[in-house]
Each structure stands twice: as C-alpha cells, then as structure tokens.
C-alpha cells in the first residue's frame, strides 16, 4: 500500500473551495495588466464598478477547470520523456532563484558567479533522484537585465534535464522562450514536448502584477507549462489560520488557472505555491516551519481533489549553514511532500528563506529524496506468504545473505543511500578520516563535477544558444559573456 497523508478530508476541501470561489465572485481580483483584464472580461469576467476589481463567476471558473489538463509530460533536452505529471509519481527539483550561494570551501554566503552555476549544473546532472534542473540561483557577473535568462542558458548548455525556471520581467520571457525553441528546433516541437516549467506568482492578497500575469499568458500561448506560486503569509498577508490561508491560496491559484486557460484552453499547469507562515519575531517567512509544510500538504490535497497535478516548495531550510537544522527541516519537508503526493517538489539545496543555495546541501537532500521515494513505494508482500519455507531455510542455513529470496528482493526493499549518509561503524569511520557530513558532501560535489559529461546537444544548437544569449547580453550592455570552462 502506498502511504499517504491526509490533513483536510473531503468535507473541509469542499468548504475551502466554495469559500475561495465566493471570494473570486464577490471580492474579485486586482489585476495590474490591462490586456489581461480585457482578455478576462471578454470571456465573461465582470468589473466591479466601485472597486475596479475583476470578478470571476462560476461559469468562467468551471470552464477553466474543465479545460486544464489533468496530466502532462516534460521532456529533456534530447526529447526523452522525464515526467508524467498527474500520474501519481513524486519528482524532485532543486530550489530556485536564490540570491546567494553558500561557498562550500569557505562557508561564506556570497554572490554567485558563472563558475558556481556551471558547477551546479554539473552536479545536478548526476543526481538520479532529482529529475529536473531548476535555475537555482542568479549569477551576479552578468548585467542584471539578463541574469534570469542567463541561468537558463547555462542550464541548457551544461545539462540535459528539463528545467523549472521563471522570468523576472516581460522582456526576459522572450529571450527564455527563444532559448527553449532553439533546443527543440521549432515552437511547435516545444509545444509538443515541453522542456521547462515557468513559475508565475500572484501577489497576496488576490492580486496579479503586470509582469507575472503577462508571463502566465505568454507561457500559455507558447504551450510552456506554468506553476502558480501563490504566497500567503499566514497572519500577515493572509489569515493566521491554516484554513484561512488555504482559502486565499486556493482563490489565487484558481485565478491563475483561469488566466492561463482563457489565454489558451488546455495550457498545462501545476497547482502549487510557496506559502509560509510569518514569524513576527524576526519578520521572516520560514519555509522550514511545520505550519508552512502543513499548508503545502493541505494545498496539494485540494489540487488533487480537482484532479490537477501539483507543485510545492518543500525540502528547504531556513538555516544559514549545512547544519542539523538544515537536515531536519529539509528531511521533514521532503518526507511530508512525498507522503502528500506532491507531483513536483521544489526545494533541495535551498537555505535561508529561499535566498541561499548550497551544492553540498543539494547532495545531502538528494539522499533524503531517495529515502522518501522509498518510503512512498510503501510496504507490500513479496513472496512472503506462506512464511514457513523461508524460515525453514533461515534455520537450516543460519542466514539469508545469499538466499534466492534475498537476492530477488534486496534492491526493491532496501534503498542504500550514500555516499553522504554515513553508515560505517565508528572505527572504520575514524580509519577513513573522520569525515563530517559537510566534508563528505564536499567530496561528493567534487566527484560529481569531475564525472560530468557534456550534454549531447548538437554543436550547432549550442552555438545558436550562445548567439541568442550574447545578443541579449549585448543589448544589456555586455560585450562578451563571462568565460566558462568546458
């Protein structure tokens, strides 16, 4: 049986959905993009004359819910299927868009450079429990106007896995879409085999900015999947109660779904978000808080009740170093996400309220993801009944190390982590250098960087990517892109 977590139950899910729909129908949305607003009005949304807010009625919502796909697939740079969202699998992707990196060598938190990003792309390529890349942090050695598209460029040059990303401006989207189209060969091919998911954020409460609503529309029209990243901050920008925050997140996400489906019916979406509580003591948005994770899990339950594939920011920590807090918050998040059946979990590698990235943490989290994958495969009988023959063999042979039953089921039953998780006895551990978790993680990062092999994209494709990126950089005032090693 596959284990699963239920926090709400059907009754509460129904009530939350009903309240969210009521908010959209009565209070409505604050939309800061006239074109998006007009597009919605043309499809039956109404403007409240006294507040200028846009109300979405039941008919429009139901139409959008009906056209949103229940499943969709992602494909890697070579066109091979990697994800089938909505089929019940749980996939992991690194946390995205950090401002800083935690330097594995010095322990300093500092601005990321191109070289850091290249190392990251090489590491993520070698992690088998991490099914996609994400544009994990923003290199600071290119003009800021292109720093969001530049990380996508580097991910495409150095990795084959599909990518979870996002644009910071309306203009950046164009460059990013061009890069994806170059890899696929045509817009139609990209639509047929999506290579990236874009994160688009509503603003709490019930608001869509010019940039992010335009991103939703642009993605939908290009067939690029979107994940909606609603961020209620409980007790601050949303009700302090978990149920109240869920009502808000549901309303905001439904509104994103309507924008995307009106722009292009059938456009692929992930029901998701990055909710958090607000810690009034520090004025921060803790991703490692258990209540934050409860909102995430419950929100996944609501998405699944609608039959939609889901996304959540879980497996992150607010620690500033690769310490016990980092492990416990990420471990808790990854396990709860897996038990909730989140289709795409964004988080591994992330520290400091989504603002600091650590390659060493990524390889630790990767092993946590492997354990969580094992957990949700659950427990099932495998040649276990009747029990007597195996026990007769055990008593006769005095062990089962080489029994047929063991050989047949060992790999399915036991997922050996490593090399970061330490399971050596104390003496061997001492003999092998008394390496701490941090040291083992650093060593694993180095091993993965060294083992990296260049993606099998054609040289002509790589050259086209380079030309497109260089032209965007030139327009932003940079003559040549930073030097990269192979």
């Amino acid at each position: 049986m596959r284990p699963s977590l239920t926090l709400l139950g059907t009754d509460l899910v129904r009530r939350i959905l009903a309240e969210a729909r009521d908010l959209l129908d009565t209070i409505g949305l604050d939309i800061h993009n006239p074109a998006v607003q007009d597009m919605l009005l043309a499809e039956g949304a109404r403007v409240d004359p006294s507040t200028a807010r846009v109300r979405l009625g039941a008919a429009l919502l139901d139409r959008a819910l009906a056209s949103a796909p229940r499943t969709f697939r992602l494909h890697d740079a070579l066109g091979r299927e990697t994800h089938h969202f909505g089929s019940g699998t749980v996939s992991f992707t690194p946390g995205s868009a950090a401002i800083n990196v935690l330097d594995g060598e010095t322990g300093a938190i500092r601005a990321p450079l191109t070289a850091d990003y290249v190392r990251y792309a090489k590491v993520v390529g070698g992690l088998r429990h991490i099914a996609s890349q994400s544009t994990a942090f923003i290199p600071a050695d290119v003009p800021s106007a292109v720093s969001d598209s530049y990380r996508l460029f580097l991910s495409l040059l150095y990795g084959e896995k599909p990518i979870v990303t996002g644009a910071f401006t309306i203009e950046a989207f164009e460059v990013m879409r061009d890069l994806l189209v170059i890899v696929r060969g045509s817009e139609a091919a990209l639509r047929e085999r999506p290579l990236a998911v874009f994160s688009c954020c509503p603003t709490a409460p019930l608001k869509w900015s010019d940039v992010t609503s335009q991103n939703v529309v642009d993605c939908a029209r290009s067939g690029i999947p979107v994940e909606f990243i609603s961020m209620p901050l409980a007790g601050f920008m949303s009700p302090v109660t978990i149920v109240g925050s869920l009502v808000q997140q549901t309303a905001e996400t439904l509104s994103g779904l309507v924008i995307s489906q009106v722009a292009s019916p059938g456009a692929p979406i992930l029901w998701g978000g990055s909710p958090a509580i607000f810690d009034i003591r520090y004025e921060t948005t803790p991703m490692g808080a258990v209540e934050t994770m409860m909102i995430d899990c419950a929100f996944t339950e609501i998405g699944h009740s609608l039959g939609l594939p889901t996304q959540a920011y879980m497996g992150l920590s607010d620690a500033k170093a690769l310490d016990a807090q980092a492990g416990l918050e990420s471990g808790l998040g990854v396990v709860l996400a897996a038990l909730s059946g989140v289709d795409n979990v964004s988080g591994p590698g992330m520290l400091d309220f989504e603002s600091c990235y650590s390659l060493e943490k990524l390889v630790v989290d990767h092993e946590i993801c492997g354990m969580a994958q094992r957990l949700i495969r659950g427990i099932e009988p495998r040649d276990d009944f009747p029990a007597r023959p195996l026990f007769e063999e055990l008593i006769r042979e005095k062990h089962l190390l080489i029994a047929k039953h063991t050989r047949r089921h060992l790999r399915d039953e036991i997922a050996f982590p490593g090399p970061v998780i330490d399971r050596a006895n104390q003496a061997r551990w001492a003999d092998e250098g008394r390496l701490t978790l941090g040291a083992r993680a650093r060593r694993e990062v180095e091993r993965l960087v060294a083992a990296w092999e260049p993606p099998r994209l054609g040289d002509d494709v790589k050259a086209q990517l380079d030309r497109r990126m260089a032209s965007a950089a030139r327009r932003a005032g940079m003559d040549a892109l930073p030097k990269r090693d192979a």
Partner: protein, 213 residues
C-alpha cells in the same frame, strides 16, 4: 499613579479606546495638551520603541501601540500649536523600479510612521526620478529604497547617482534594504546606510535624520 503614566501604560498595552478616553479625561481635568503629549503618549511610545529595539516585544505590539498613540494624538492635535505636533522628519520610501516586492518596505514604512516620521510611501516599481522628485516636493531628508531581486538592485545605484547629479547629497540621505542587498552593497553604491529589519531601519533612519545638513 498619575493619569499621564496611566496613558503611557495603556498605550504600551495597545489599548486605543482606553488611551483616547484617558486623554479626554486628562483634558477635562485641565491638563495641558503639550504635557499630555510628552508625559503620556511620547513617553509610552519611547518605552515601546526601546522594548522593540531590545527584541522584548515584536512588530504587532508596536503597531498596536502606534494605533493607540494616534487615537490620543487625534484629540490633542487641534489643541496643539501648529509646530507643536512633533515629527522626527520626513522619509520617502519605495521599492525600486522593476521590483514588486513591497511587504518588507511596507513594514519599514509603518514602523517609521510609528516612530514619529512623516512617511511618503511611493509604492513599488518606482523610477529613480520619482524618488528624488518626491523627496524635494516633501522636504524629505531621507530616501528609503527596497529591492528583493538581484535584477533590481542596480536601480538603487541610479537613485544615489541622481541625488548626486542634482547636488542634493548633503540634504538627502539614502538608506537601502531588502533581501537582495547588504551592508557591503550599500557602501559599494555610495548609499548612506543599510537596514536589515524594521527595528534597524528605524534606528538608522533616526541617525541619518539627525545628521546635520
């Protein structure tokens, strides 16, 4: 206990109705408005500010206290001479062009208002010229800039340079904040200060506003 210390105590508890009725009572008793202002409201707010700086109380406590203070101040204002209403100075604040994150900036603005500053909040996605124009129009001595995106940090530098280009650097000080920026960044772009949360923002803006022009 005197009625003034009652007002201060009630303000610290964030009881706005109670503060208003105590202020009314003090006025009925014939107390001087200026004395009520200083001995009650400002004294109470001073304690709250101190406790917040010492991290003994948190943001919502300060917001409640500020609301209580305004409840009392509303009754005193008509009785105070025009220049008797104290202000710590004027601050123009906003999130820089391209940046829509405004939660942190809003908190900083609310806390500055609570600390007695006149706050002109320009909102988010604000162009450099608007910051400088607004500072001139409102006679502000401090501009507060917020940025949470790597991509919008450079706009802060544009504001610093615009202030210099207009020769206003002695009159207008610039403080920066937000998840993307740091003390080092503030120094690098020539800003006058950096604040990492609402309490530090208030403390540093106070210091900047005190710097003689």
């Amino acid at each position: 206990m005197s009625i003034l210390s009652d007002i201060a105590a009630s303000l610290q508890r964030g009881e706005d109705d109670e503060v208003a009725s105590l202020v009314r009572q003090a006025l009925d008793d014939g107390q001087d408005a200026v004395a009520i202002l200083h001995g009650g409201l400002i004294a109470g707010m001073g304690v709250v500010g101190e406790q917040f700086r010492e991290r003994e109380i948190f943001l919502p406590d300060v917001l409640l206290a500020a609301r209580a203070m305004y409840a009392g101040l509303a009754l005193l204002k008509p009785l105070l001479a025009k220049d008797g209403v104290p202000t710590a100075g004027t601050v123009v604040i906003g999130s820089v062009r391209g940046d829509l994150h405004d939660i942190g900036k809003n908190l900083v603005g609310i806390m500055l208002a609570g600390a007695g500053f006149d706050v002109v909040d320009l909102g988010s996605d604000v162009a450099p010229e608007r910051f400088v124009d607004a500072a001139c129009d409102h006679g502000a001595s401090v501009i507060g800039l917020s940025a949470l995106l790597t991509t919008t940090m450079p706009v802060m530098k544009d504001v610093v340079e615009l202030v210099r280009a207009r020769g206003l650097q002695d009159r207008i000080k610039i403080i920066v904040g937000g998840a993307a920026v740091s003390d080092a960044w503030a120094r690098q772009i020539g800003a006058d200060a950096y604040g990492y949360d609402a309490a530090s923002a208030v403390e540093r803006v106070r210091a900047l506003a005190r710097t003689p022009a």
